[in-house]
Amino acid sequence: MAGHSGLGYYLRRVLRVSLETGTMAHLLHRVTGLLIVVYLFLHIGAMSYTYFDAGSGFDDLMATFASTPFLIVDLVLFAGVMIHGLNGLRIMLFDMGYFSRRQKELFWVMMAIAATSVLIATWLVGAAHGWW
Amino acid sequence: MKKHDVIIVGGGLAGLRAAWKVSEVADTAVVSKLHPLRSHTGAAQGGIAASLGNETPDSWEEHMFDTVKGSDYLGDQNAIETLVKEAPKTIYDLEHLGVAFSRTEEGKIAQRPFGGHQKPRSCYAADWTGHTLLHTVYEQCIPKTIAFYDEWFALSLAVRDGVCRGIVALDIRTGEVEAFHSKAVILATGGYGRAFKITSNALANTGDGLGMALRAGLPLEDMEFVQFHPTGLYRQGILLTEGARGEGGYLVNGDGDRFMRNYAPEKMELAPRDVISRAEQTEIDQGRGGEGKDFVYLDLRHLGEAKINEKLPQLRDLARSFVGVDPVKDLVPIQPTAHYSMGGIPTTVTGQVISDEKNAPVTGLFAAGECACISVHGANRLGTNSLLDAALFGHKAAVATIEYLNEADFHPFPEEVMIEGVTRVKWVREANGRESAPKLRHELQETMTQKCGVFRDREKLEECLAKVKELQKRFDDIGIGDRSKSFNTEVTEALETQNMLDFSEIIVYGAMQREECRGAHWRVDHPGRDDENWLKHTIAFQKEDGIELRYKDVVITRYPPKERGY
């Protein structure tokens, strides 16, 4: 058995308790946040295309992004943004002194809102691209 | 060898108050087998007494009378006078240190009624008064220069030629024994409720200071007076504060009767603890316990949820987690529980330890708190007077120590005490006899509760004494399974058991000799108080050939003994 400290110890322990509401919210917030940062860089990269190729290259790229696999990625990203944003709102409510005794309920309320909006977005995107 | 001007043994309220004061002028060390914040002071719930008169007009004379009467006239009245006169100042000092007292509407310290007190004079912080006192005083010790030896188990006092030169202690963490050389020692090791099976006391309350005193050849005073608290949680003995009755709780028996009207018609549930404990025990013995068993009920339902949550939150938690009942809607099963030791190491009013019935001082040795017998509680302590005792006399012992330090110096440390300590620990750690120390302890506790409890008689006490002596012998043949030096609690528990076996003999022997009923000591075979023969303190010595009892007069100044009715 490894020591009582260090990153490995942390991971084992935090994964073990990751189903507790507060910890789950925290870990989700972290993971979605990091994902969005990665996307942000990709996004800026994609926009740079307009500088390097002022012709139809950008439009082609955009058209690629409108294909189904990328749309699914988009929806995942949207879900990440909703989870991160709504949980961020939840955290700010605590910061303002509200609901700290109801943090678990608040988390599930936020996640319900996130889930609903992702479902609606999926329906809209699907409808626009002829998925159904 | 460690060297400090003053060694304080015990990190509860008395010890910390002493440390806080002494550290102003001297190099001070606190040696405690627990981290000080773990001390049992923290478990005191109901309050700390002082005649502040914040709720109704009050005076120290009334407080004194109540205390004297509560003590069944065995308390030394000069000491009691000091206690009650300096009580308000003590409370204000504590408040200035930051104690989180509950407040009245005008913002003053709130006070509530308590058993045996005629006026509401218990200053409280909900039902965690001891906790806030302990934490506040410990915290105020942090900025002082005090050396804390946390989790060091004190083994023996180095007393030679009537002078105390320090102590020997075991470092629980490493298993090493060390000598602590000092100019003065203040003992504040707390009580010994653990000698009984049903007790409100912590597992750590094993009277180690008393064992140390006995081994140093010092006597103990009034050990037969053990207070049984009326509201111990059934089977666990865990304390439910008397504040519950102060706030208006009832005691009812199995038939649903408020039985106190038969025992103390005037004061009812607010009679002193000894009176109520005996009433409960009588109800139980006569078959009127709850479900016909050995408990009665505490009824708080009429107080309502809001009041219980505000004034008695801890009580509600305890009842819920330990017996699964909610005081808001259920009756709480309770029984008398060994709670407080009125007796202890005899001291003068200043905290100076004395070595005989003629008040001969032990130079450089002081004691305060529950381990000491000053004696302000006499034969029965009133609720809320113990925190006051610890806070006030801890401080006074420090003042006396400071005075002593003016002319004191280090006396040579007796090597043999150190050698004896090392040998004793080694013997226990390597013991491989057939007896089990926990089993001996259980037998002791069972015997003490059965035969030296609320009601006593000669026959039971004789059996008890024989049993204690048998257990002492059997202790020589104990076996220990844990040979490790690091945090070996099996060894420390065995050492504690040894201490308990030592002083328990004195409790039983003193109780056997005292043929009267006084306060917490109730002899069924000798009804009534006998002022003619027994208005005196027991001073017990442990000698080679057995226990020797001597007696000391009670100091009576203002209130001559009269009948005690409630």
Binding site: Y51 | P143, K144
Partner: protein, 128 residues
């Protein structure tokens, strides 16, 4: 001997920077909610089937509002994201030296990407 709290050396290292970073993290998050909502509604929701083209983008960026929104998005996003990364990293790398290195790298990345992003934006505006 004598006590007194003066003898105790408690290091008071109040750090205004950590306060401001924390505070701006909240401010930027509120900002992001606003501009991101705007950004996404206009680009994706008004007409989910519309394809984004360079020409549209040029037209869009002739509006001052869009210039502001897009630059705020870039600034808030970079700050919030990179400061978030810093927060995460600080948890797992408590050594002051490592933290300083992480902070510096993130700061440089942030500035460089912001400058580059702004350059691209300006280019788009001018090209329109």
């Amino acid at each position: 001997m004598g006590g007194g709290e003066l003898q105790q050396t408690v290091h008071i290292h109040a750090s205004k920077r950590s306060f401001w970073l924390w505070f701006l993290q909240r401010v930027s998050s509120v900002g992001l909610i606003v501009v991101l909502l705007f950004h996404m509604i206009v680009l994706h929701y008004v007409d989910p089937s519309a394809e984004i083209t360079l020409a549209d983008t040029h037209v869009r960026l002739q509006s001052f509002l869009f210039i502001i929104v897009d630059s705020l998005l870039l600034g808030f996003g970079l700050f919030h994201g990179l400061n978030g990364v810093r927060n995460v990293a600080y948890d797992y790398f408590p050594k002051p030296g490592t933290r300083k290195a992480i902070s510096s790298i993130l700061l440089i990345v942030g500035v460089v990407v912001f400058v580059w992003g702004a350059f691209v934006l300006v280019n788009l505006v001018l090209a329109g």
